[in-house]
Amino acid sequence: MKKLFLSTLILSFAFSNSYESSKQLMENYIFSNEKKSFQTDALLIIRDGKTVYEKYVKGYKSTTPHYAWSVSKAMTGTLIGRAIYEGDLSLDDRLSDILKGYDEEFASDPRKKDITVDHIMNWGSSLNYLEEYEEAEKYTDSSVLQQLYGKNASKDMTRYLLSHDMVADAGKAWRYTTGDTTLLTSVLKDVYPEDQDNYPWTLLFDELQMENVTWERDASGTFVGGSHLFVSARDLAKVGKLYLNDGVYDGKRLLPEGYVEYSTGLNSVYLENLKNDPDSMSKKAQSPGRQWWLNRDFYNPTLPLYKNAPKDTFMAVGHWGQLLIVIPSENLIIVRFGEDRKARIDREKMFGLIFDFLNEEGL
């Protein structure tokens, strides 16, 4: 009897020490940095409109505007939606009819004059732009590095972008590029010439009561639409809320009806390229929407890419692991900021651990 009691005591002690809750497992993976492989700076989870998890490390706070990198692209797409809703812009508008002072660049190839806002929303300008960062074979060949940091290119990004050759007719070649998205902010600058320092706030940020957001510009005053947005996790989640509610925020419609479906539907230029000329495309893991990414396999968009996440999941994705994830079927928003320089967080594993946590906690 004494032996049985002792064994039970030892077993229960061992079990109590080895048991880790789903929350601990989630934190251990997402925030642990034992191997210094990836680093999470912030994680915010909002379920049914309520914050169910929020954590910041490395000196970041709930009010810190964190580098969003290419998450900026979804924000730019949202601004385009706002301009359309306000009746100031149409998806069929041609850039050559809007942008002022770039006649020489448009004249260099007549096909450039046909580029529309819709082509660019689809990352389909067909400009020959090379989107590579540290992995570029030669840094100086990288269009994105030249655009963001080159001595001349970074001064007037619009001119630099329009100086690229065309690889096909406008709307025919799918290439995910920071350049294309930045052309959308070039367009907005000329759509709102009287408000060019402030239109992101007038159109969107003030409507969403975003308080900790910074958006940097080039020296000519164009917001760097494809990058250079800084935003707090809480403010970024508000954009997720806008998309969860089909473009309506706190009862007020901000985006045209059907715009969320357009933004998070399969990218039409990509689909056309996938069908006819898959080798010509830049290679990605997941299928693109329009300035967003979908939970679909790049080469077979009928299949989900992440099995641990619902198929209707869509996300904005930035360099070094910045993520805004929206899952309509779960009424769920996830913001993750990080600094994944040496390795990327495993998103499949992250989804699994987050759903285990939500399920175990009954959230």
Binding site: Y139, L145, Q146, Y149, K151, A153, K155, R217, A219, F230
Partner: protein, 108 residues
């Protein structure tokens, strides 16, 4: 031997400066050192004045974006909120300036 080293050094520097001048003449094609100093100035500026992290943290943050960043030298001007970066002993000097809470940093 010393003369030979001197000649090789002078020749290398001449070739480098020539390549830099040639690069700068190609309107949108910046050299590696230009990109490196531009990237580093911008990262450092945004890190300190937008993300409000410490100078020590930001010196580390702005490194490693590009391999050449290990040669960077930053000059932090807290009064004017500018970061000026020079790479090694080269001539490439780039500056990023903080333009305010909404507009963050711009390479000037």
């Amino acid at each position: 031997m010393k003369t030979l080293v001197k000649i090789i050094t002078i020749l290398s520097l001449t070739l480098y400066v020539g390549a830099e001048i040639k690069m700068s003449q190609r309107s949108f094609h910046s050299s590696l050192t230009d990109i490196g100093s531009g990237s580093s100035s911008k990262q450092m500026c945004s890190c300190m004045f937008v993300m409000k992290q410490s100078e020590k943290f930001c010196r580390q943050f702005s490194k490693e974006v590009l391999l050449i960043d290990i040669l960077n030298r930053h000059k932090v001007d807290l009064e004017n909120k500018t970061i000026t970066t020079t790479i090694g002993f080269f001539f490439n000097k780039r500056q990023a300036k903080f333009m305010g809470e909404k507009l963050g940093c711009t390479l000037i």
